[in-house]
Amino acid sequence: MDEPSPKPILEIRNITKNFGGLTALNDVSFDLHPGEILGVIGPNGAGKTTLFDVITGRYRPSGGKVFHKGEDITGLKPHQIVQKGISRSFQLEVLFKNLSVFKHLVMSRHLHTQVGFWGSFFRTPGNRKEEEATEAEALELMRFVGLEVQGDRLGGNLSHGYQKSLGIAMALGPAPEILLLDEPLSALSPKRVTDILDLIRAIRDKGVTVMVIEHNMGALFRICDRVVVLSVGEKIAEGLPEEIKHNQRVIEAYLGGAVRA
C-alpha cells in the first residue's frame, strides 16, 4: 500500500457526545484519507453508529469538530452534509417501505435532478427530458448494485440482502465523495458477503472514499486499508489490519469483555 496522502479528506477532532449522563463518544480523533477504505470496528455499544450520526449531522456533538477538506462542517444539517458530498447508509433498514426500488433510486438522485417547479407542474418537454435522464441514472445505479431485476418490488417486500443493497444504492444516489456504510455485511450469507465486498471495492475504484462500520472482522480485513478501533466510546487503536489483529488492547476489548460475561 502506498503512503496515505498528507491531506486528509475528513478530520475527526476530539469528538465527544453525551446522551444525558451517558458518554457515547469520548474525545475521538482520527483522519480519513482520500481514496482509502477505512474500517471502524468495536464491540457492541462502542459508539460506532453514534460517530456516523455525528459526522452526518443527525446529532450535534457535545464537543469537538469535524472538518471536511479543512472546512468546519460540525453541526450542519443532514441535507447540507449530503450536499458537501458525504453520504451514508443505515444499519437497520431505513427505506421507503411503500415505494418501489426504482422510485427509491429516482429519489436518491434528488440533489442532481434539475427539474424546476413550474416545469414539473406544466410538464414541459425540457422537464420530461430531465426526468428521463434521472430515470436512466436510477437504472444505472440499480445495475451497479445488482438490483436490476427487483425494480418494481416495494422496498418493504425485499429480502434482507436486497434491502442492504438498496440501502447502499440510496447512499450512492447523491454521488458522494465520501461514503459511510453502517454494517453493510450484518446477517448476510457468505455468498452475499463476497458480493458486497466486491461492490465496496468497485465503489472505491470509482474514486469514492469509504468508511465502513462492521462486526464481521474477518471480512472487513479483506478490503480495508486501515482500521480504527472504538471501545466504550474511546478510540483504543488505529493502524493497518495486520497491526490491529495483534494489538493487545484490541484483543482485550473483544475477548476480555466476552470472558467476563
Binding site: 415505494l99 434528488h110 414539473s120 407542474f121
Partner: protein, 329 residues
C-alpha cells in the same frame, strides 16, 4: 388495454363534469342548488386536506384555516369595500401567511403530536374570533357579507349574484372547484408530489438523500391552507354570514371522515367521500340526531373492511372476480 382504460377514465370524468355542469337545467330547486354548492365547497376543502396528508402529517388546523379565509375575505369586503373577486385572492395570501405561524410551532413534531399541536393552534385562531368582537364580531360572527359583484362579459347581459337565484353561485363555485382540483392534481403528479411521498415514507432517509424535509412540509401545508382559504371565502360570500361555530373542531372531524372513508391513497377518494356523505346527510334529515352515529358506523366499517377507502372498491371487486375466474379454471 391500459391505454383504453385510461381513455375510458378520461371520458368518464368528462361525462361527470358535464352532467353536473348541466344540473341547473334539470333542477333549479333552491334546496338542491344549496346542497350542491356546499358540496363543491367541501370538496375543495377536503381535497386540499388530503393533499397535505400526502406528506404524512394530518393537520387539524385545516378547518380553522378555511375559516380564516372566510373571515379575511369577508372583512376585506366589509371594511375596505373590496369586491369579492379581489378579496378572495387577498384572503388566500393572508391565510397562507397566517398558516406559516400556525404550523411553525407544529412542524418539529410528527404523527399524533402534530395532529394535536395543529388542533391547539387552530383552536387559538377560532377563539380569537370569539374573543375579539372588533373586527371578528364575537360569537355572533359577521353578518351581511356582500355577495360577489356582477360578472360582465361583453355581448351578454351581466351575471348578477343575489338572493333571487342560486345559479350564478352554483357555476362560480363549480368552476372554482374544478380549477382547484386540477391544480391539486397536477401538483401531486409533479416533483413536489413525489417528494411528499418520500417524506411520508421516511423523514430520516429523505433527509439523507438531500431533501429539506422541513421546508417541503411547510410548502405543502401552505398550499393546502391556500385552498382551504378559497373554500372559506366562497362559503362566506355565499352564505353571507359566518360564525366561529361554523369552523369548530367537529367539522374538522367530518372532513377527516370524508377523506378516510373515500380513501386517502387516491386523489378521487375525498371527492367520493364528500359526495356520499353530503347526500347521505340529506337522506337522513328525518333522523338528524342520529347522523353522527351513522357516520361513526360507516367509518368503523370502512376501516375494518375497506382500509383503502370506498374508491378502492372497484379494484377490490375486480381482484375478487379474477380470483374466482382462476379458481374456476
Amino acid at each position: 388495454m391500459k391505454r383504453r382504460n385510461l381513455l375510458g377514465k378520461k371520458v368518464g370524468i368528462a361525462a361527470v363534469i358535464v352532467a353536473f355542469g348541466l344540473l341547473p337545467v334539470f333542477t333549479q330547486s333552491p334546496y338542491w342548488m344549496h346542497v350542491f354548492i356546499l358540496m363543491w365547497i367541501y370538496i375543495i376543502v377536503t381535497a386540499s386536506l388530503r393533499f397535505t396528508i400526502t406528506m404524512g402529517e394530518w393537520s387539524f388546523a385545516h378547518v380553522p384555516l378555511m375559516g380564516m379565509g372566510g373571515y379575511a375575505s369577508a372583512l376585506l369586503a366589509m371594511k375596505l369595500g373590496l369586491s369579492f373577486w379581489v378579496a378572495l385572492p387577498l384572503a388566500v395570501l393572508i391565510t397562507a401567511f397566517i398558516a406559516v405561524f400556525v404550523y411553525l410551532p407544529c412542524l418539529p413534531t410528527t404523527g399524533t403530536f402534530f395532529f394535536f399541536a395543529s388542533y391547539a393552534f387552530g383552536e387559538v385562531m377560532r377563539l380569537c374570533w370569539v374573543r375579539f368582537k372588533n373586527p371578528f364580531g364575537g360569537p355572533a360572527g359577521l353578518l351581511f357579507i356582500p355577495a360577489p359583484g356582477p360578472i360582465r362579459i361583453p355581448g351578454i347581459p351581466a351575471i348578477e349574484f343575489g338572493p333571487l337565484s342560486k345559479i350564478p353561485y352554483y357555476y362560480t363555485v363549480f368552476v372554482f372547484m374544478l380549477l382547484s382540483l386540477l391544480i391539486l392534481y397536477r401538483l401531486e403528479q409533479s416533483r413536489l408530489g413525489r417528494i411528499a411521498e418520500a417524506v411520508k415514507e421516511s423523514n430520516l432517509l429523505a433527509q439523507f438523500v438531500g431533501i429539506r424535509v422541513w421546508r417541503y412540509k411547510m410548502v405543502i401545508l401552505l398550499i393546502g391552507s391556500a385552498f382551504a382559504a378559497i373554500g372559506g371565502s366562497l362559503y362566506a360570500h355565499y352564505t353571507t354570514l359566518i360564525m366561529p361555530v361554523d369552523f369548530y373542531w367537529g367539522l374538522g372531524i367530518y372532513i377527516i371522515i370524508y377523506t378516510v372513508v373515500g380513501g386517502t391513497r387516491h386523489f378521487g377518494g375525498p371527492i367520493v367521500g364528500v359526495f356520499l356523505f353530503v347526500l347521505l346527510r340529506e337522506l337522513l334529515r328525518p333522523i338528524v340526531m342520529y347522523v353522527p352515529l351513522v357516520y361513526g358506523l360507516i367509518l368503523a366499517g370502512t376501516l375494518v373492511f375497506l382500509p383503502e377507502g370506498l374508491i378502492s372498491l372497484p379494484e377490490k371487486i375486480s381482484a375478487w372476480a379474477m380470483k374466482k375466474k382462476i379458481a374456476a379454471a
